[in-house]
Amino acid sequence: MDYSKLKKRPSFPIETIAVAIAFSPRLDGLLSEANRLRNYLGAAMILIHVGEKTAEKEEALEKSINKAGIDQGHCRIIWMDGDPVETILNVCKLNIVDLLVLGAMQKENLFKFYLGSVARSISRKAKTSVFLITEPKIESHKVKKIIVNGVDNPKTIHTINTSLYIAKHLGAKDVTIVTEVHNPALTMTMADSSTAPEASKIKKDITEEQTSRVHPIIEESHKQYPDIKIKEKIVQGRPGYAISSYAKSKNADLLVINSPDIHLNLLDRIFTHDIEYVLQNLPCNVLIVHSRL
């Protein structure tokens, strides 16, 4: 397979959307959500099903496609056999998919968390951006509030730009860039040798350092997207968990985060990696941006 076209391909504009489908009661909602995304972004659409192709399944899918109002002329259906995770990821690579839409349960139990569900496994491994929808709805609804991770990482600028592109197309007017401040071992160090003013100054300096990093990005984005209200917020806590809790407390419609920097495995679930805190308990719909750096 030739994956060279994928390398350095920007995370937006989104030209091709793929939807991984399973025949569950949530299928109609998922297809409706994906179709709305497709319409807003003006993208082509691929539906992928891993499993045996039968007449019953074809008929059920046809019904769901019609119910979701998908124009079949703009939609391709791919039936494949094999391991669901690997097959879906391969189809995405072959078809230069820019956004993979998946339905995902909001929470996983401990057993599933360690073993991994299909949606979570794809999110960990995907080389394309992934859109996880927790409660797919048939009826149209507005995306108003978007929370974006502003972590200090080379990928972040692409993630912020992608979220603003999505916000513009989805009509969201409120985007908050959230930076998590977490300083391991700082509490222990300050406990024995810092006076109260010293400790406050250290904490203030760390916060200001983060603000000074995010501020220019926001100013630049304001110029590009004058209709969107872009705010910044610093939250204290463990990366991944802090932003997830913040998104939940603010009733966000969409949380946008970077794709993981490393290949995630079971160890990252035992010694929880940042993204695992989000995947463990999805606070709302989640977009994982793969910037293909």
Binding site: D152, P184, A191, D192, S193
Partner: protein, 413 residues
């Protein structure tokens, strides 16, 4: 039957009061000269102990700090509690996800900064047991201990140095923090294993049983116990008095964990340390609660522990310059070399790698705790203990200037 009398109580309270006040003043004075806090506390111990007070006014010394009797037993009990709590707070800061997240440089540095000093330390004892005071000891256990003593790092002192150099959030800083976390974790696991092997009555236990129990307890707590704590903490923090409730529960479980590991033949410190990791890893443990536990332990119990070292050992009599220099040279060489090599293989520049090496070289309080436990267990003699304490203090003091020399302004973010 031994009875804790009114006089014993008065003397114990005087001893505790004097220790806490003097060590605080000495620590603050040392801070002005950029000395580690622990240095001031040990200095107070030397002043109050047999080295100074015991030599000049032996009657006063034995009256306040008797060598036998009920007050001594009570004081030793408090010191044992202190070391258990110190290990608990050390565990609170062990977040292995940070090591994994930092990627190749951190993983390579963590592994080489642990293995190379361990192997060198072990080999030196194996080849020259007499030089390193191994007479009368099981050579393999002594070598295991010395290897661990060379490999351990001290996260608190390292973090302080990084903060002072404004390197805390840099790439070099995060690699050092990650490796220190890893070294602490593996170092304390191996050390608990060594202490368990010696056993309370000095007999050598079956190594496979002990390894199995250490791994079994560690894995159970990190896989299942940690999740149970994580799910219970929100309830504790919202339904019980704040912050008293969470403080009682955390320390309560710390003592239960310590009691459990002590009972099954492992050392109490292992239970406290692993319990600390399990609580510290929970995202639900509020920063404020963490801060209170740290303040309580580091400012009340840590001084008692570090001052007690000077009370029990005559630092002047047991200072062996040759041994101190040998231990210091081995410690500085093996840790700096091991850590620098890992950092370099992990992709850092030569100067950055050397900065990582000297950063991790700081042994601080952790080395001193390790030495004390080994001394109490009868594994090392007082001369080796003093050499380890001096090494811990010297490496902590030279770490900052050496890092500054190697990276200066060229620290890459």
């Amino acid at each position: 039957m031994l009875k804790f009398t009114h006089t014993d109580l008065v003397l114990l309270l005087i001893a505790l009061g004097v220790i806490l006040i003097l060590s605080r003043f000495m620590a603050e004075l040392g801070k002005k000269f950029k000395m580690p806090i622990v240095m001031g506390e040990i200095f107070v111990g030397i002043l109050l102990g047999p080295s100074v007070l015991g030599s000049l006014w032996p009657d006063m010394y034995t009256a306040i700090f008797p060598r036998i009797g009920a007050e001594k037993i009570a004081f030793d009990g408090i010191v044992s509690l202190a070391v258990i709590m110190l290990l608990f707070v050390a565990g609170l800061e062990v977040q292995l996800n940070i090591v994994l997240k930092q990627g190749k440089a951190a993983i390579y540095t963590s592994v080489t900064s642990m293995i190379i000093p361990f192997v060198i330390g072990f080999t030196v004892v194996w080849l020259f047991p007499r030089v390193l005071q191994c007479e009368g000891q099981d050579k393999s256990i002594y070598a295991l201990f010395f290897g661990t003593a060379m490999a351990i790092s001290a996260l608190p002192v390292i973090t302080r140095i990084l903060m002072d150099l404004n390197m805390f959030k840099t790439k070099v800083g995060m690699v050092i923090i990650s490796a220190a976390i890893f070294d602490d974790l593996t170092g304390w696991l191996v050390f608990s294993l060594i202490l368990s092997l010696i056993g309370q009555e000095g007999e050598i236990h079956n190594i496979w049983n002990t390894i199995g129990m250490v791994l079994g307890f560690g894995l159970f707590m990190l896989l299942i116990g940690k999740r149970i704590i994580d799910r219970t903490l929100p309830w504790i923090q919202t339904k019980l008095s704040w912050p008293g409730g969470v403080l009682s529960i955390c320390l309560g479980f710390c003592f239960l964990g310590a009691a459990f590991t002590e009972k099954i033949g492992l050392h109490a410190i292992l239970g406290a340390f692993i319990m600390g990791i399990a609580f510290g890893d929970s995202v639900h443990l509020h920063e404020k609660a963490r801060e209170i536990i740290h303040q309580f332990v580091t400012n009340v119990f840590a001084p008692l522990f570090f001052v007690s070292l000077g009370l029990k050992v005559n630092f002047i009599e047991n200072f062996d310059l040759q041994l101190v220099l040998i231990v210091l040279v081995i410690a500085v060489f093996c840790k700096s070399f091991g850590a620098s090599l890992g950092a370099y293989l992990g992709g850092l520049t030569k100067r950055e790698s050397l900065a990582v090496g000297f950063g991790l070289n700081a042994r601080g309080a952790m080395e001193i705790i390790l030495g004390t436990l080994a001394l109490n267990a009868g594994l090392i003699n007082e001369k080796m203990f003093v050499a380890l304490v001096v090494m811990a203090l010297v490496t902590s003091m030279i770490s900052g200037p050496l890092m500054k020399y190697f990276v200066g302004d060229q620290i890459s973010k």
